[in-house]
């Protein structure tokens, strides 16, 4: 159906962990280029994020003749998938609360996505947590929580989310791993295990779905200036940044741009790839 050179527009992207950091930057980058974006977030949406979404949506309404995006959910009934995309203006961002540890939440999330926009042809699995402590002191809950969210949560999202992609013979999946998967990271055995697991999951899925015109790739960010690194402490952070050839942290946008590329049709021949976005920190691994 779709050749390598086809360019798709008016797509819908789902970004988990989208309320801040890399996820939010990705949502904004994708919306800017015209994709509708559904942000899945677990915790309460920060006011700053809500403001950002509102201002972005008001701009995208102007582009599409002043059509308000957020009313679409009330207007369209579930099941009106293919035509629904025309109702929503391109570039809208909608936030939906969802805990990736809950099958029910995930089910309602996709129902909502499909009712409003049609199917999500782009999935960015970015939701992740940390519970850092040395392995000798790591309790089972710290292990279980991180694996359940960062690894099993991605399995749950994909199991539901790639279904329509297979049917439609088109999809772009990006899993957000980490440099910790390759370098290891003291105090993060749980996190690094989950992030390494995503590489195996992503590459397996890339092989499983290649015949259906679905690209699955993995990005491995290094040190990114988000809330997640605030727990590190200044001294540790300085030491880490010292090991980065580029000599600085990444901004979330610098990760988002790579994800935007991987989910674009420009990257149609890239699948099963692990793309480091780490300032050279783990090069060669």
């Amino acid at each position: 159906m779709t050749g390598g050179n086809a360019t798709h527009t008016n797509r819908t992207a789902l970004v988990t962990g989208g309320s801040r950091g890399i996820g939010l930057a990705t949502a904004i980058a994708l919306a800017h280029r015209g994709d509708n974006v559904v942000i899945a977030h677990r915790s309460e949406l920060p006011v700053s994020t809500q403001d950002l979404i509102n201002s972005l949506n008001s701009v995208s309404s102007v582009h599409t003749g002043g059509k308000p995006q957020l009313e679409v959910s009330k207007a369209s009934a579930p099941g009106t998938t293919p035509g629904a995309a025309q109702v929503a203006a391109p570039g809208a961002i909608v936030a939906v609360q969802c805990d990736v540890r809950s099958d029910n939440d995930i089910s309602s999330l996709f129902d909502r996505v499909e009712a409003e926009f049609g199917y999500a042809s782009i999935i960015v699995a970015n939701a992740g947590i940390v519970a850092d402590t040395l392995l000798l002191r790591m309790g089972q809950p710290a292990w279980d929580d991180v694996i359940d969210t960062n690894l099993t949560g991605v399995f749950r999202i994909l199991k539901r989310g790639v279904r329509p992609m297979v049917r439609k013979r088109y999809g772009k999946v990006v899993l957000v791993s980490s440099v910790a998967a390759f370098l290891g990271s003291p105090g993060q055995a749980n996190y690094a295990s989950a992030k390494a697991g995503l590489v195996g999951m992503g590459r397996s899925l890339a092989r499983e779905l290649a015949g259906r015109n679905i690209n699955v790739n993995i990005v491995a960010p290094g040190i990114v200036d988000t809330g997640m690194i605030s727990a590190l402490g200044e001294a540790k952070l300085k030491e880490l940044v010292g090991s980065v050839p580029l000599g600085r942290m990444a901004s979330p946008e610098e990760i988002a741009h790579v994800i935007a590329f991987l989910t674009s049709d420009d990257a149609s021949y890239v699948t099963g790839a692990v793309i480091p976005v780490d300032g050279g920190m783990a090069m060669g691994l």
Binding site: V166, R167, E208, L209, G211, R212
Partner: protein, 79 residues
């Protein structure tokens, strides 16, 4: 639903999902050899059958299903 109606519906799913001509979908036809279906095709077919018949098929029940006739028996046993 009559046996013929069940087969007709199943056949339609197979034609849609596997992109094969209807006359090839006979009970003796083997998915892998005769209908050229790979493992993902079969997963798609199962998903289509689940939707069309409102049934749910467990992974373990798919073991040993190799022909259209066997798939038909499985669907019928669930209605």
């Amino acid at each position: 639903m009559s046996d013929d109606a069940i087969f007709e519906k199943l056949s339609q799913c197979a034609v849609d999902v596997l992109q094969v001509p209807p006359d090839k979908v006979v009970k003796e036809a083997r998915f892998s050899d005769d209908l050229d279906a790979d493992s993902l095709d079969l997963v798609e077919l199962v998903m289509a059958l689940e939707e069309a018949f409102g049934i749910s098929v467990d992974e373990s029940e798919l073991d040993g299903i190799e022909t259209v006739g066997e798939a038909y028996d499985l669907v019928k046993s669930k209605l």
